[in-house]
């Protein structure tokens, strides 16, 4: 099918991708995912050597993992920094990496990490407790300049060097999500020498990490170059082989145009690509190339409700929306098989996800009954009216994921059948943010990526940004409680309660799960996706 977004829209999507963050609400364009899938045809034995050329959608802008806020920036960072822990993409379990083991205090305010003793940064300095402290202090000092880190380190008090290889991190209040945060590239470890550079210089500097690749350099709007680290033996236990990476070199090339990315993959000018557009996916698979995909963990692509507006303040309207959207139709007609219909307030690849598909079943009859009961009667043009007010909702969307507008136009038709009007307002990313902050909308289109259920708190707590203007003590209690609960089962129960509450109250109308879709050339093998859906290049090899 040759559905191509208009030039302007497509073009707008690339810089936005640059912004689309790990915690991106709206619109994590290329995003990530990292599942159990693995690339390549069944190939013989892995072989060392070779230069893998990978095309990504947007300029990283900043290669410093601590400051990087976007998927594209973190691809490179992920390859040259190690983390304290790693997260199993299938089970969500946190496993050792640089930290051999850890202890969490019962109130989730103290985290003591016992580090392995053999890891070194590329400049030869040891990865020890002092380095861990320097890194966490540095991220905390960045404040809002570390957009993701600021959330991960909320309430950070200090890190204590207990002994050479033991570090104790203390928070002012419970912060259970911190453990998962230590598995992200954002809290990845840089050599103290790199941390001494001023924050502004770190974005384009040759930063030193302890990862399987070393950073050779970053040329803005062009590429990030990486080389294999010799003698690397401290990889994550989740990786398929220990020891040094197979690839000699790795180039992450910036290729903003989705069609050019897939054409380049097809014609062998690159070996793998990120951000496969839904309309290109069929062409790629039709040509025998494989696709590596995974639904992004976090908050699905959804209509987020502004509960302070006259129309959406009415719970009946929110309930009506929940059943008026036909999620299966959206996925089948506009997207590709890599995308799943949303079944909860969290996407299915997120830890502590609970299936709530029953609440989200498409049921236009129920929508009509709900609206009838609330006094919304069909007006002359089919749009419902109550007390002289038309049920016409303003939805804002940013231009950063190609199919955004098409999806919303379909939803517009679906809602129209039940008498709900939808007015689409397409905005540039800055304008979208502005409108979000100012509350000038009924519904906002977006998603958020993170593999920890605490993302629900950042999205729906009344105490944080609270873009939905939500005032719900019951929801607040479960959100706070899960942040302080270290028992995984008890925490999952609290998260399940919160997911249900968000959907029942209609604070969010989830539609589909954003997916990370990578195209993989025939020569590439062993490429997998980690828990936040970034490619894991250590096991990748070329035939």
């Amino acid at each position: 099918m040759s559905r191509r977004p208009m030039p302007a829209r497509r073009f707008a999507s690339s810089p936005a991708t640059a912004l689309a963050a790990a915690l991106v609400l709206s619109l994590a364009a290329t995003a990530c995912s990292g599942a159990s899938g693995s690339s390549g045809k069944a190939a013989s034995t892995p072989r060392s050597g070779g230069h893998l050329r990978f095309a990504m959608a947007a300029d990283p802008g900043c290669v410093d993992p601590h400051q990087a806020a976007t998927t594209d920036a973190l691809y490179g960072a992920r390859a040259f920094v190690d983390s304290l822990t790693d997260q199993n993409p299938t089970t969500g379990q946190i496993v050792p990496w640089i930290a051999r083991s850890w202890q969490v205090s019962s109130d989730a305010t103290q985290f003591t990490f016992s580090l392995r003793t053999d890891a070194t940064f590329a400049d030869g300095t040891p990865v020890d407790a002092k380095a861990v402290k320097a890194n966490l202090d540095a991220v905390a000092a960045l404040g809002a300049k570390s957009m993701l880190g600021a959330g991960y380190l909320q309430g950070y008090r200090s890190t204590e060097v207990v002994d050479r290889y033991t570090a104790k991190v203390t928070f002012k209040k419970p912060n259970e999500q911190f453990l998962q945060a230590t598995s992200t590239a954002t809290l990845g470890l840089l050599a103290p020498a790199s941390l001494k550079l001023p924050a502004d210089k770190r974005c384009t500097a040759k930063l030193i990490g302890s990862g399987p690749f070393t950073l050779d350099g970053y040329t803005p709007n062009t590429s990030v170059e990486l080389t294999r680290r010799k003698g690397y033996t401290w990889g994550s236990p989740l990786w398929k082989h220990s020891g040094a990476a197979y690839l000699d070199k790795l180039t992450l090339r910036v290729v903003p145009e989705a069609g050019v990315r897939s054409g380049s993959l097809n014609s062998g000018q690159v070996d793998a690509i990120a951000g496969v557009a839904p309309q290109d996916q069929e062409t790629l698979t039709g040509q025998g190339l494989s696709v590596l995909d995974r639904p992004n963990p976090g908050v699905p692509v959804a209509l987020s409700v502004n509960t302070a507006r006259p129309l959406t303040k009415d719970p009946a309207v929110r309930h009506a929306l929940q059943t008026a959207v036909d999620r299966d139709e959206v996925v089948q007609t506009v997207l590709s098989p890599s995308y799943l219909p949303a079944t909860s307030a969290l996407s299915s690849s997120t830890g502590a996800y609970a299936d709530n598909s029953a609440l989200l079943a498409h049921d236009p009859g129920r929508t009509r009954r709900t609206l009838d009961a609330a006094g919304w009667v069909p007006g002359p043009d089919g749009i419902r009216v109550k007390n002289g007010k038309k049920l016409n909702l303003k939805v804002i969307l940013g231009a950063n994921f190609g199919p955004n507008q098409t999806v919303l136009e379909l939803i517009q038709q679906q809602l129209r059948k039940t008498g709900i009007g939808l007015t689409l307002t397409l905005l540039s990313l800055p304008d979208y943010q502005q409108a979000r902050g100012a509350g000038d909308y009924d519904l906002a289109w977006g998603n958020g990526t993170r593999n920890d259920p605490d993302i629900l708190r950042t999205a729906f707590s009344g105490k944080l940004l609270n873009l939905g203007r939500i005032d719900d003590p019951r929801l607040e209690r479960s959100l706070d409680a899960q942040a302080a609960e270290i028992d995984p089962e008890k925490r999952a129960a609290l998260v399940a309660t919160a997911q249900r509450r968000v959907l029942e109250q209609g604070y969010q109308i989830p539609v589909f799960e954003m997916a990370s879709v990578y195209g993989i050339g025939e020569k590439v093998h062993g490429l997998t996706l980690d828990s936040t859906s970034y490619p894991q290049f250590h096991d990748a090899w070329l035939s």
Binding site: S14, A150, Q154, P220, P256, G263, G398, Q433, G448, L465
Partner: protein, 318 residues
């Protein structure tokens, strides 16, 4: 002549100052807040606190009165310092200097292709006596102006890079990687040149001196290419200044399609990230390029047309 040059230079300086001031006004009156955009990173579910935002605003001087910000920044700009990018932390001047060569290269290649192509079409279209050929040739420019750059670029990539594997689809530095983007931009540019040149050629061919030349026994070819073309050349030359602007604007799309690191890409990235210092630096740099191109054309005019040496400066002075 000296007064002419001085006046033109003064005008150039004024244009640059106006570009700076206008861009400052527009950018700082924009509803968006770069700090919020930066902290949101494209998302809503960020947990940056208001205090952290405030400290960031202080860091970039965005909390000071607008007049003070303007004065400080203009002062720095006069010394060539356009501040640092709020996105990458790089000095704006260096970012532009790094991106400029690729775009200059692209502009030069575009003009090198567009000038002969546009002139050729115009000359051939006005010379031929076959009506169908004239009609075909002279309707090409309209088609060239109408075709969207974005589409042309993708079609060229599809054919020359993906299908036939002749040229790379992206990259900068090599001559091969320059060809497709230059052709993409040269087609509409050539069309514009052809339109203007064909029109002035026809005007020139209707002039009495052409009749005189023919009467003196000059061949049609000689009259057309030497007498008429020479006199008609001034009009397309004037357009070159405008073309530089076209190429700069087109580079936003072309550099994105061909993944080139140039001024256009930098602009696109900076605008979407609301990286105000970079956007402003680019506006001034763009104005600078435009002013210089037009200055060069204006100063070249008297050289090409001796009549202007006498009247040019006076015409400007009056």
């Amino acid at each position: 002549m000296t007064t002419y040059v001085v006046r033109r230079l003064a005008q150039a300086v004024f244009v640059l100052w106006a570009a700076y001031t206008l861009s400052f006004g527009v950018l700082y009156l924009l509803p968006g807040d770069p700090v919020t955009v930066m902290a949101a990173g494209g998302g809503d579910s960020t947990s940056v606190t208001p205090e952290q935002l405030a400290s960031l605003r202080t860091r970039y001087g965005l909390d000071r009165p607008v007049a003070e910000q303007y004065a400080t920044r203009l002062g720095h700009a006069l010394h060539g310092d356009f501040g640092t990018s709020v996105h990458t932390g790089e000095p704006v001047g260096r970012m532009i200097a790094d991106a400029a060569p690729a775009t200059l290269e692209l502009t030069a290649a575009t003009l090198a292709l567009a000038l002969p192509l546009g002139a050729g079409v115009a000359l051939a279209g006005t010379y031929t006596r076959r009506r169908w050929a004239a009609q075909l040739l002279l309707s090409l420019p309209s088609a060239g102006v109408a075709a969207p750059t974005f589409w042309t670029g993708l079609v060229l990539i599809q054919l020359f890079s993906f299908r036939w594997g002749l040229l790379p689809a992206f990259g900068d530095g090599s001559a091969a990687s320059l060809l497709l983007p230059a052709v993409t931009l040269a087609l509409p540019a050539a069309a514009l040149i052809a339109q203007v040149f064909a029109k002035s050629l026809r005007t020139a061919l209707a002039e009495p001196y052409i009749g005189t030349a023919v009467a003196k026994g000059a061949s049609r070819l000689r009259v057309h290419f030497s007498h008429a073309a020479r006199n008609a050349a001034l009009a397309p030359l004037t357009v070159v200044g405008v073309l530089v602007g076209h190429v700069l604007a087109g580079s936003v799309v072309v550099e994105t399609v061909f993944s080139r690191n140039g001024i256009g890409r930098l602009t696109a990235t900076a605008v979407s990230a609301q990286d105000i210092p970079v956007v402003q630096g680019l506006v001034v740099a763009g104005a600078c390029a435009f002013v210089l191109a037009n200055l060069a054309v204006d100063l070249l005019h008297p050289v090409l047309d001796p009549r202007l040496t006498a009247t040019g400066p006076k015409a400007v002075a009056t």
